[in-house]
Structures are given as C-alpha cells and as structure tokens.
Symmetry: C2
Subunit: 292 residues, 2 copies
C-alpha cells in the first residue's frame, strides 16, 4: 500500500444509510470532475486522522470538528456514526506495523452542487522521526486582523477546516524561502494563533498551554490528546491568549498535528526556544499508542 | 452545448510547445484525482473569460493576470501565447449566437505536485438580463485588516485569483441569508475593496472610479474594459481609496465581472444607491460587442 482512495455518498443525519461498497481506487485515478466544488472552489471540509495498527485515532474529536466545519459551511449535518463506521472500515485496511493516515473529505458536490459527496484517502505516513527529534525553526506571520475581529464574521469561516488551503501552502513556502521550516500565524495585535497545518502547544512550568480556539483557529485534535495526557501526568492545562514573549519563555513548545504528531519548536524568528527531547518522546509515544 | 471540459498540459514559458489535442469531455466526466492540488488544497489559479460569437474577450488582460497569479503562487511562468491559442481554439467551439464563458484553470498538479496541469471549461452563460436591469442589493462585509496591511504579506496571496474560494462562496451565502444579493468587502478602516466575484466601479460626475488594486484586491479585467469605454466617451477614470460615503454619493455604481458583466447596485446595507439604466445598457452593449 502507498495510497488508495475510496469514494462514497456523504452520509447525512436523518437520511437512510448510504451502504458504501468501499472499493479501493489507485490514488491517482481520475474520480472527480474539474467542476467538483472541491476542485473549482476549494469548497468542502476535511479531516486527517492518524491510523495506527489499523485503528483510527481521535475519531470522535475529528468527526465532531467535521460537523462544525459542515455547519459553518452550511453543508448538511453529517451522520457521524456512519462516518465513523466507514472510516474505521477503511483504516482496518492499513498495512500492519506501518504508521498511516486517513484523509476524509466532504465536497459540496458536482457542478450542480445538488448533493455533497465524500471520499477518503488512506496513505502511509512519511517518516517524521527526524522532525520529531530535530525540531522546527519557525517564523511568525501576521494575519492582519486583531484578536477581537474573529468572533464577529462567521462567513470568514474561522474554525472550519476547509479545502481552501492555498494561503496555508503559501505560508509554508514563505517559511522555507526565509530559511525556516514552518510559520506561526499571529493576530495583528500580537497574539499567537496556529500554524498552517498544526496547533501550538507549549509547557510553562507545570502547565500545558495552547491558544484559545476562539481566537479564530481550529481546535486541534492532537492538542486535545496532548492535554489529556498532560493531565494524566499531573500537569495542569489552559487555553489563553499568548504573545511571543510567552512562547520565548516557555520550557518546551510543539506544533501538534494528527500525522506529524508533536514536533518540537527550536526557534521563533531566530530566537532560540527550549527543547525537551525526553518530554517530546513521551508525548509521541503516548500519541502513537492510541487505538481510538 | 451546455458545458464541456478540455484537459491539457500547462504550457510553461521557455519549454517546448505542449500540442494539446483538445478533445472535449462531458463537464461531469471524472478527469482528476481527489488528491489533485486543486481538489486537495484549492491550490491553483483561474481566469473566467467571456466568449461572444466564438471570440475570447479581454484575452490579454486575463492572461496577464493569470501570470501574476502564477508568480504569487510560485507556479511556473506560463507561455501566454500558447495559452491564448489554446483558449481561442476552445472558444471557437461555442454555440453561435449564445453568450458563453470559458474558465481556464491551472492546478499545481497531481498528488506528487511534480508538474502543473491545466483545463478549460466552456459553458453557456446563465441569463443575467434580470440582474443587469434590476440590479443588486449589497451588504458590506469587514475583512478585518486595515488597508495598510495588504502591501506587506505576500503569502496572503492578495491579488492572486486562486481556487481557494470557500470564503468567497460563504460571503455570497451570508448576503443571501441577510436578504441581499451580494457582498462588498471592506477593510477594517472602512475602505471599499471588491465583491467575492466582481470588481466595484462607480460614476461620480464625469469620473469613473474603482478601488485601487493595491488595496489587496484583484485588478478587474471587465473594470479595465469599462474604464477604456468611459475614456472613449469622454469621462475621466481614477483608482483610489473610497469609503461608504463615496459610494452612497455616487451617480451610479456596478459590480463588474467577465460573465455577469456590469450589474447595477441598488443599495448598500439598505441605503439606496442611484441607478442609471441607460448608462448600464450602454456599458453592457459595449462589453458584449467586444471581439477580443
């Protein structure tokens, strides 16, 4: 297995079950029209699940966030039980012993947009062991609006994980151009937000911290798992509004995501950050051991 | 003909000609992978050309803008001569006597992103005669950042016409939900920007005005054509930074775009705007008469 695609009708809450056949297609197979809402407008939502030992990770958190994305995008409410069953059936096909991930997508539909549809891609995970040990040099990127803005304009789709990621990809290219590995977005008034594909988590003494999702960012599924682990270990956890100086003074910091997991940050705009390799290894061991 | 798709290699400047066969496909045909950059990330650029009597309209303006989008997206520089030839060959297939439009798309490529590719969709234009005479009720939408922001952050992709249009589509739904037809984006400090799919033009006495593209918006191809027409008619034209009161005091105002053409605005957030039907008809007659 390298990567395979499964297409199926989008299961809508309150409608009959979709009974997908889940025939695998080669990932390069032509399966959608160029006027599909995903390809024409980046108009749809997605989630990326870790898959370990054939088990889908953080299923409930991902699916709850997909439901939020659908609500913000005014797509029909998904039937989460059916989606969980479908995604678990697909995940069970992953090669044993190989880290994998499953990308679940809902598109607003074909050219007539009459009915949303869905697909999932099951892939082997690239080797992130270097990133997880070496860490990431990060630059800050000002998104231009103050923290007070994001609560107001629903149509800006803050908090929805949409397919419109051209700017996310451009942010990563900008980081590379400036000799860094990733970007940390900030509000114009200096509050830390998120990365184009990850959530910021840092440790300050006995507390794990992450930016309040109300600041216009996604609520990270892996961040939530790290918070649960931290509580089990006796740490406290908090969401808040943090600035650059909070991060520079942290005892350890990570970008967390479902596929790359917890990756330590080594610098912000060239200013060094403290790395804690032992803590990073413990977090990633926990994340990789999850079976749901 | 309702709509047909043509796929072809993206012609890159300085490389051998691509010699596309331009076989038409049904618009609903499955032609791309779900992991195509367009479908996975909204990662690509597009232009929509009017097609009248088999002729592609505003060819040079559209293709120059596509080249700017490619530069901002760090896609290879397109061979504009080849693209013009390809698009003109496709436009020549339009049904005579029927308003049509051609959507040209460049995607960053398949799952491996090794090579960008392109497609074009030739469609009959929906009947916009009602909108062109009745006009549009518009609401303002604050994009959250000040006018001073947009010159700085290249990775925000201001000025690139990308496939990441989920927020554009959400803006239109928001307008409908609030009983309006379209949205006019503004900066947080109150300067008028553009609509999700159109450029603002208004007349103030003997001057046609449009927001300075440097405010982080697309430079409208149809707006430029309207400015050329206005000059021929003896009007002056200007780009500037305008506020709500400038628009409310205008003698006529339009959203301009390649397919819907010049559509008069009848209100902004419920405040009435002046309509000039005769001038609107003259502008649209000019726009429809263009053969290049």
């Amino acid at each position: 297995m390298s990567a395979v695609t499964f297409r199926f009708p989008f299961p809508v809450a309150g409608r009959p079950d979709v009974s997908p056949d889940l025939t695998p297609h080669h990932v390069d197979a032509s399966l959608i029209s160029v006027m599909d809402a995903a390809a024409e407008r980046g108009d749809g939502a997605f989630e990326a699940f870790g898959v370990i030992a054939g088990a889908l990770q953080a299923t409930d958190d991902h699916l709850a966030r997909l439901a939020e994305s659908c609500a913000l995008l005014e797509l029909p409410e998904p039937d989460l039980d059916q989606l969980a069953t479908i995604c678990r059936r697909i995940a069970a096909r992953a090669t044993p012993g190989v880290e994998s991930w499953l990308k679940l997508v809902v598109s607003r539909g074909g050219m007539d947009r009459s009915e949303p549809h869905a697909w999932a891609v099951l892939s082997e995970t690239a080797d992130f062991s270097d990133a997880r040990s070496t860490g990431l040099a990060v630059i800050a990127g000002d998104r231009g609006f103050p923290a007070s803005y994001v609560a107001r304009e629903r149509w800006m789709l803050f908090g929805a994980k949409t397919l419109s990621y051209a700017m996310n990809m451009a942010s990563l290219r900008e980081a590379k151009r400036r000799g860094a590995d990733d970007m940390l977005w900030t509000t114009s008034d200096g509050f830390l937000m998120e990365a184009p594909q990850s959530t910021l988590v840092f440790r300050r003494g006995t507390t794990f911290c992450s930016p309040d999702p109300g600041i216009g960012i996604l609520h990270g599924t892996t961040q939530r798992a790290v918070f649960r682990w931290a509580k089990q270990q006796g740490y406290t956890t908090e969401y808040g509004r943090y600035t650059r100086s909070d991060l520079l003074g942290a005892d350890a910091a990570w970008f967390t995501s479902s596929v790359r997991l917890a990756t330590p940050l080594i610098s912000l705009d060239g200013d060094p950050l403290t790395i804690d390799h032992a803590l990073t290894d413990s977090i990633n061991a926990f994340l990789l051991a999850r079976r749901d």
